[in-house]
Symmetry: D2
Amino acid sequence: MPEQPQYGIALFGAGRIGHVHARSIAAHPATRLVYVVDPVPGPARALAESYSAAHVDEATALADPAIAAIVIGSATSTHADLVEKGLKAGKAVFCEKPIDLSIERVNACLAAVLDCKSPLFVAFNRRFDPAIAEMKRRIVAGDIGALELVTVISKDPGALPLEYLSVSGGMFRDMTIHDFDMARFILGEEPVTVTATASALTDPDIASIGDIDTASVTLQCASGRIAVITNSRRASYGYDQRVEAHGALGTLRTENIPINNLVQEREDGVRREKPLFFFLERYAQSYRNEWDHFVRVLQGEEAPNPTGEDGRRALLLAEAAYRSIETGQRVSVAP
Amino acid sequence: MPEQPQYGIALFGAGRIGHVHARSIAAHPATRLVYVVDPVPGPARALAESYSAAHVDEATALADPAIAAIVIGSATSTHADLVEKGLKAGKAVFCEKPIDLSIERVNACLAAVLDCKSPLFVAFNRRFDPAIAEMKRRIVAGDIGALELVTVISKDPGALPLEYLSVSGGMFRDMTIHDFDMARFILGEEPVTVTATASALTDPDIASIGDIDTASVTLQCASGRIAVITNSRRASYGYDQRVEAHGALGTLRTENIPINNLVQEREDGVRREKPLFFFLERYAQSYRNEWDHFVRVLQGEEAPNPTGEDGRRALLLAEAAYRSIETGQRVSVAP
Amino acid sequence: MPEQPQYGIALFGAGRIGHVHARSIAAHPATRLVYVVDPVPGPARALAESYSAAHVDEATALADPAIAAIVIGSATSTHADLVEKGLKAGKAVFCEKPIDLSIERVNACLAAVLDCKSPLFVAFNRRFDPAIAEMKRRIVAGDIGALELVTVISKDPGALPLEYLSVSGGMFRDMTIHDFDMARFILGEEPVTVTATASALTDPDIASIGDIDTASVTLQCASGRIAVITNSRRASYGYDQRVEAHGALGTLRTENIPINNLVQEREDGVRREKPLFFFLERYAQSYRNEWDHFVRVLQGEEAPNPTGEDGRRALLLAEAAYRSIETGQRVSVAP
Amino acid sequence: MPEQPQYGIALFGAGRIGHVHARSIAAHPATRLVYVVDPVPGPARALAESYSAAHVDEATALADPAIAAIVIGSATSTHADLVEKGLKAGKAVFCEKPIDLSIERVNACLAAVLDCKSPLFVAFNRRFDPAIAEMKRRIVAGDIGALELVTVISKDPGALPLEYLSVSGGMFRDMTIHDFDMARFILGEEPVTVTATASALTDPDIASIGDIDTASVTLQCASGRIAVITNSRRASYGYDQRVEAHGALGTLRTENIPINNLVQEREDGVRREKPLFFFLERYAQSYRNEWDHFVRVLQGEEAPNPTGEDGRRALLLAEAAYRSIETGQRVSVAP
């Protein structure tokens, strides 16, 4: 193994997702966690010390030339500002989705950084799931022929608190946003119409704030290609995340990953383990792989993918889905 | 085992489905194949002789008091007439779906037999698939709590000749009709709106006759409950038939049945057998179970289910789906 | 379909397995159940009437020239005699395994019928399981290269009454006999040594009659090829029947067949259906396929397989396994 | 998260397994890689620099009081010496299996460290596989009742060079050793007899050095409980590692873990991904979990498990298996 430079990283946000990224940064031979930035000092300092890093403020982190990249894992409302500051400071930027809940703010942010030369990566981590990445590779290789029908089944394990939901932007912007990105990624063609049907069934609180929790959304492309997303906010058994791509020569589909591969056979039935419970467990490998990708971006070996434009497109589809529910009509979106 | 009467059966139609029913009738201890009726004498006589039965004309079969029931497996255009004649002759009637492709003819037929006392069974055989029957049983038992989302994935293996397709009534009436019945059966509540998106992608011939081959149809009930059907006319690997029911307490789903349970693991991958190829293989057990049910109907132990009304309802949903495609709108159906 | 002769069949034994064969005979277009022979008149008459057959005595059945074949599904102690009588009367013989529990009686029977020209089929039905038949076909085709290691996992669902066990001949002769045949069938080479380890663990009654219920038996061929059989008399979840063949290029293995393909996912786990409970359900398709084979034997299209010699060989391996347990040694068998 | 001490770790061996442990040490918040010790300077220095550690000699590492534990991942011939030196220097010791290929050297080593107070952990990592750990937990909890039959299927992907094999100690000491430990772990009772059958089939080179590559080994305990191990040195499709535990109330079994959960269905069959290829991929989670366990040992929360005695017991079973092959007899081992 040749000697290699180690990239210094500043991590914004010492919460749940911050811990995931801190571990990836420390475990990767090519990156080193230098700073943790978070307004709440206790957890930030503890996280920093676990990896021999320092807890500093935003200005210190952005000013240090030893910092090659920033990782934005802080509150959603801070993302767009940090993207602008980081790119303008010449840092590579790894930004958790979404850039913002408002399409106007996203547009403004992307316009503001248009001339920045540093790379911007928007972390739709599911594209880095090994099964999804392999599915995409095979579709591109022609293994299932012309693509015709994509199905995305996506159900959260539920139990999100009302405080979270009331500022989430609504299910399509908060949860289905991942599925819109997945559909676009697998389709390989921009949808031109969106048709949606939705209900609030799992929790009276959700209906009370005018949100939805159960939905079917159909996207159609100019070629006739169709994608269908089905969602529920609550699957009692864990995180239900399956994608199918159907083409002229066959189908590719991903199955849920069980907690482990144990099978129990008794008089009361054959029992397998439930799917991994939520995104931290289910997408653990995606987070590792996405960090590997970002390191290759730092090394100049790959272009960042997905980008800010991918973040913007997914949000546009969410807006169209809301209009379809309200009007009962098929809604056009600019390709 | 107590001695039991044997019911004499007249079978109309000596084609593919006729052979399936002839075998079921012969294998069941309580029924005996007495007559085969078919205008084409060669195959009809051969089939009759295989089971020590006679090849006769329609009038003879309907007039014989030794005949307890008729099985209608002839051409679709003959179904409604035979339903009327059979019931009016006091025979129990087992009718292959559909009763007719025209909703007007179905309405007229059902009106004409309203006062007949003999039972009419319409053979939506998939309800008798052991996994589907058990799914329904558990939903009714409350095993997954309040039902919220039903998904029906249904793909034909393809390769239907244009001559067939051009008189089929179109995909929604010919193929999706089974899925509309399945959705109704699993939902346990009549849909009130239908939204559909469809394309013709698999074969230029299909587009040339104005038909479709790839579709997503969403049904919504008054309670908010949603069902989503996805269809393709061509799955290279066989008959893809899966149903999922999602409720407050969990999910029930059926998997395809492989040709056999052999697994091959080699350097070129882990290979399992393909799904059973088409309806005759895939639903072989359903045909046996559906005949067991019909025998219990003859014995007065069960009411026929599904009925003529079920056949009519499925056709109404197909009509609504066509209107949704044409108008780009959510279409209401009477509950 | 060309017209074809119908073969008249006499069935000996109106018990559980007799009903299975009666149904196969009636459902097959080329065979007709003519006689049922059984000393207990009630069930025999009922079975006969279900299929428009007659209940007669042994002599009548054997003397009737309209009878092409006899099916022996009566008590084990009657098998060898009926094999001799049937073949000497010029009938084709379908004999349930085993021909006899005593190797001497089997040898005598096979010697007595050596000059008979009618075919003798010994019903090791598992060879006709679709997955097993396909496994054999692929091994012969070279799909996994040179065969090296065969594994047979075979567990009964349990609950056999002591009266049955005490006249069964012991687990190796009664239950493992099927696995010895399976190992021979898959190996394609005669074993030359047998090594066995066994215990009585599931039921004190089994130990009390000196029988065993849990065992590992290893067979080795002259080429070095190895087969391993593991047995238990009691699997709480049903009939556990799996076979693996490992070769230079890969592995072929069969999985249990679930009652149906329903999957339930809830907070209490992912539940699939149990394996089919016992041989009647698990091997329903094998019984149908074995009858198809026997019809082709009657039609002169195939030679009977397995034969009386296969029945004898399996019994020889059982004898060797008992000697290995008693002596603690690897036991040689004549190839 | 409360502040916690970080344990300083010295890693012996900068090879393949050394990299695995280095990454675990760096990623864990409670441990820090301080030294890498390896006679070959290039790779050692590169590994050290990747994690901001130093490349030093053995004496320096053992003398530094900041080092809480040593991890022995160097050549097998160095293990026993390092175990003795590390424990005598008061360090906790994490030793890759085996302690030594010679049972005499293992006995001597364990005797020499009898009075040392620091913990010794022998890294049979498979016990930490999530499915295996859960299987053990459920057996202990009584979920399958009294244990009766354990099956360990263990096949390497093959392709080991002759140089490796000729110093490996033979298949039973090098490869089956893991399966002996697994059988002991799951059985929960020491075997009292060993019976083995083996062949050399996969490679003429293996036969030429008098080694074996295909085997069946049966262990029996005083209670009658049986364990069966089947081995092959070459599975073309990857690492085949499955364990089954059968008890009075049911069976627990682990399935192989596929590379990812993608399924491809085409006319040429249903293809799933192969099992993870070899131990580094297959047991990646086990390595992480085993490190978590060792950290809890350092924290005084858990006793090391498995221990040196477990390493010794597995080796004793390998010796007995060789004697059984040579003598053709069931071989007794001291319980």
